[in-house]
């Protein structure tokens, strides 16, 4: 890793605002939140329910956009390797979601009709299209099998999601998120729906997927003990980010 990489955050939310409209009422959820994730860092975003954690993660993943900038830069920016997502065209943004980031959701979100293996492969199919996928088929299958083995599911390739436990499903989701080897893994309460034991297994899987610090992980949770697995914890409160240290949990001023 170069020096420059260490300094430039791989993913950054800069003064991001997000407001939902409910009928005539504007509900501001994010009110100028800023986050930076350095390459290879495991960042946890801690926050109460309804604090806007999922919203933030969706913005980071390019699934949604911050408020439009009516006059100036009011809505803020999401930057990937210094490049604002706002400037990306629809095609580039689709590619960003397919190749540069991977999502893990609280409720697994696997496709129920597909097998475990197919659920992992579909990420690669979406990225490469018919021809590209055909060309790399063996390579991709090998990678998918490898990932599923690493999350301990190599015996379950042909099973369908309904035949798996919650923890197993989430581990499939982790494998799916990583099939295209993205630089960033975005995890939205990956253990939120699991008991402590299987949640721990999922966290182990995620930890094992850091690949010697090559991968950045942004994980959202409301559970401080889960957040403790991360290198650094920040807290989202009232639509703003409150910085915290990873180890002591003592509040610190924003570093960026």
């Amino acid at each position: 890793m170069s020096k420059r990489d260490d300094q430039t955050p791989i993913l950054e939310a800069r003064d991001v605002r997000k407001t939902y409209r409910l009928g005539r009422v504007d509900v501001p959820v994010l009110k100028g939140a800023s986050i930076t994730a350095a390459p290879g860092e495991w960042l946890a975003i801690l926050g109460a329910s309804g604090s806007g954690k999922s919203t933030m993660l969706h913005l980071l993943g390019g699934l949604d956009r911050p408020d439009s900038s009516r006059g100036g830069n009011k809505g803020g920016e999401i930057l990937y390797k210094g490049q604002p997502l706002r400037r990306m065209g629809a095609r580039r943004l689709d590619r960003y979601r397919a190749a540069d980031v991977g999502f893990v959701f609280q409720f697994y979100h696997l496709l129920p009709e597909l097998t475990v293996m197919e659920n992992v492969l579909i990420g690669a199919m979406v990225l490469h299209g018919r021809l590209g996928y055909r060309k790399r088929r063996d390579e991709i299958r090998a990678r998918a099998e490898g990932l599923l083995e690493r999350v301990g599911l190599s015996e379950r390739l042909r099973h369908r999601p309904v035949e798996l436990s919650g923890g197993e499903r989430q581990r499939v989701a982790v494998a799916r998120a990583l099939v295209n080897d993205p630089g960033v893994l975005l995890a939205d309460e990956p253990t939120g729906n699991l008991d402590r034991a299987s949640g721990g297994e999922v966290l182990e899987s995620i930890a094992s997927m850091r690949d010697e610090g090559r991968r950045t992980i942004v994980m959202v949770t409301h559970d401080a003990t889960v957040a403790a697995r991360a290198d650094r914890v920040i807290e989202l409160r009232d639509g703003l980010v409150v910085q915290k240290s990873a180890l002591g949990g003592v509040g610190r001023a924003a570093a960026v």
Binding site: H58, G61, L63, D64, A90, R91, D94, R95, Y96, R97, A98, A99, G102, F103, F105, H109, L110, L111, E113, L114, E118, I122, G123, M125, V126, L127, H128, G129, R130, Y133, R176, A177
Partner: protein
């Protein structure tokens, strides 16, 4: 790529899409069955019509016209025409056994020439057959047994000899042992009982009134002379030599075919010397020169006349060309003969195809087909709306999947294509199923109809209303292709709006969807 995978999975795991495929199948089947049967009906109408009269008919009805052999020679010399045959068409009465009388079109033909122009030889019913006809499940057809059981007449030994008599329209006079003209009746004319559609039981097994061969009928015609004046009725007892089953209800129910020489004799159309007797002191117009003169007994030499010449064109030549060739030969013929005695009659020659003769009927059938197809295609719009609503609810149900796909990088276009592709598969499966169903129905429509007839007492196809005994059972590949494509398009159209909705979905909302 992923669209193909998901389409396969959705198709095999969901019941709704299969229901929409069934809807597409039923609609395509409905349209194709109708088109095949009605289109086949029209086709049979056009081709079977020709089977008994060739491609073109040249005629002067009533008085007829002379020098027809010259016309036939000219027609047959034309490279686009194969054969021509003279005929006398007249209306007559057929006196049947037990005092029954039937009205009939009576055609006098030269059997060999007539058979070259038409399918006359195929239309003769009483002939040797090896296997029972399609619907004769018990093998009860009399033609399967020995012929001797049914007749005693001279010269008749076997079904083959019955066929030969039909082909030559010649019977053997029992007293003189001389050949005499016979008559072939339309098979339903004599009121044969028909235990099953498709084969016939002779009326009676007693030789004296056993009609199909050797039975006798009285042929009564009302002739006119060369000026068109009616002369008194003429009657002749003739032996029946065979019966005609052409499949055309008109022919089978109301036509009798006999030899042309007999009809010419009865109608005074046979040429030769004829003495015209004076009827007192009268002034009359000479039929040849047109001069007025006192009427005295004169002997005139008249040429033979026929009412009709049937023409058949070479195979593979269009009907238009055949008509043009016929017209060409006919005009040359008129030009060469109009100044000969009675040549004035040639002015009245008319020329018509079977389709033209039945133009009103054919046009009505065509219009009816168009109307029914339009209606059924309109009804098939229900398939579009069915696919629409099923896809709408499936897009709803699969909202979360759409969100997931967008989250892992699928484009809006890719999501739209997922649903369109899915609809395409449903359309292809549905259409293929529909084509298969309609093929099976159409190919077996006569059996199905028979079954309905015997099991439910439902007989929709009445051969006395429609022209043909058999319901058309061919599927035109072009029609099948058009209808199949229509089914696929209907499915894709139906999925269009739901697909667009899926593509426009906000991925975050989709993911939050419960």
């Amino acid at each position: 790529m992923y669209q193909g995978l998901l389409t396969r999975k959705y198709l095999t795991r969901k019941i709704m899409p299969l229901l929409s495929a069934v809807a597409v199948a039923l609609c395509t089947a409905m349209v194709l069955v109708t088109w095949s049967v009605m289109g086949g009906f029209l086709n049979t109408l056009l081709t079977s019509g020709r089977a008994m009269m060739g491609d073109v008919k040249i005629e002067v009805s009533g008085v007829g016209f002379p020098y027809y052999n010259d016309l036939i020679e000219r027609l047959e010399a034309h490279p686009d025409l194969v054969a021509a045959a003279p005929a006398v068409e007249w209306f007559g009465q057929i006196g049947l056994p037990y005092g029954r009388v039937a009205q009939a079109a009576v055609w006098g033909v030269d059997p060999e020439r007539y058979a070259r122009v038409t399918h006359y030889s195929d239309a003769l019913h009483w002939r040797p057959i090896d296997t029972p006809t399609r619907r004769d499940t018990e093998g009860a057809d009399p033609r399967l047994g020995p012929a001797s059981e049914y007749f005693t007449g001279p010269g008749v030994r076997s079904w083959d000899s019955v066929l030969q008599r039909g082909l030559s329209l010649t019977a053997i006079d029992e007293r003189t042992n001389e050949p005499v003209p016979g008559i072939a009746l339309g098979i339903r004319l004599s009121g044969q009982s028909r235990p099953r559609p498709g084969w016939y039981e002779p009326t009676s097994r007693f030789a004296e009134d056993f009609l199909p061969f050797g039975g006798r009928v009285t042929l009564v015609v009302l002739p006119s002379d060369s000026q068109g004046r009616m002369i008194e009725p003429r009657a002749r007892i003739v032996q029946v030599v065979n019966e005609i089953q052409s499949g055309i209800a008109q022919v089978d129910g109301q036509t009798a075919i006999t030899r042309i020489d007999l009809m010419q004799d009865l109608l005074g159309m046979r040429g030769g010397e004829r003495v015209i007797e004076p009827g007192g002191f009268r002034v009359d117009v000479d039929p040849v020169t047109g001069e007025e003169r006192f009427f005295a007994p004169v002997t005139v030499s008249e040429p033979s006349r026929v009412t009709t010449v049937f023409v058949r064109g070479r195979d593979g030549i269009s009907l238009d060309k055949i008509v043009a060739a016929t017209r060409e030969a006919t005009e040359a013929f008129i030009h060469a003969n109009s100044s000969r005695p009675q040549g004035g009659l040639l002015r009245y020659l008319t020329l018509a195809t079977w389709e033209e003769i039945n133009a009103q009927f054919v046009a009505a059938v065509k219009k009816e087909i168009g109307l029914v197809l339009f209606l059924f295609s309109f009804i098939s719009l229900t398939a579009v709306f069915l696919v629409w609503s099923i896809f709408w609810s499936m897009v709803n149900e699969k909202t979360k999947d759409i969100g997931i796909l967008r989250a892992i990088g699928a484009s809006r276009r890719g999501v739209a294509w997922l649903w369109l592709r899915y609809a395409l598969s449903i359309g292809v499966v549905g259409s293929a199923l529909g084509l298969a169903i309609s093929y099976l129905i159409v190919r077996n429509i006569n059996e199905i109809h028979d079954w309905m007839d015997t099991a439910l007492g439902l007989s929709i196809w009445d051969p006395s209303i429609y022209l043909f005994a058999k319901i058309p059972d061919e599927v035109d590949p072009l029609h099948a292709a058009v209808v199949g494509l229509g089914g696929v398009l209907a499915a894709v159209f139906g999925a269009m709006v739901p697909a667009i909705r899926a593509a426009r979905m906000d991925p975050v909302r989709a993911l939050r969807f419960e």
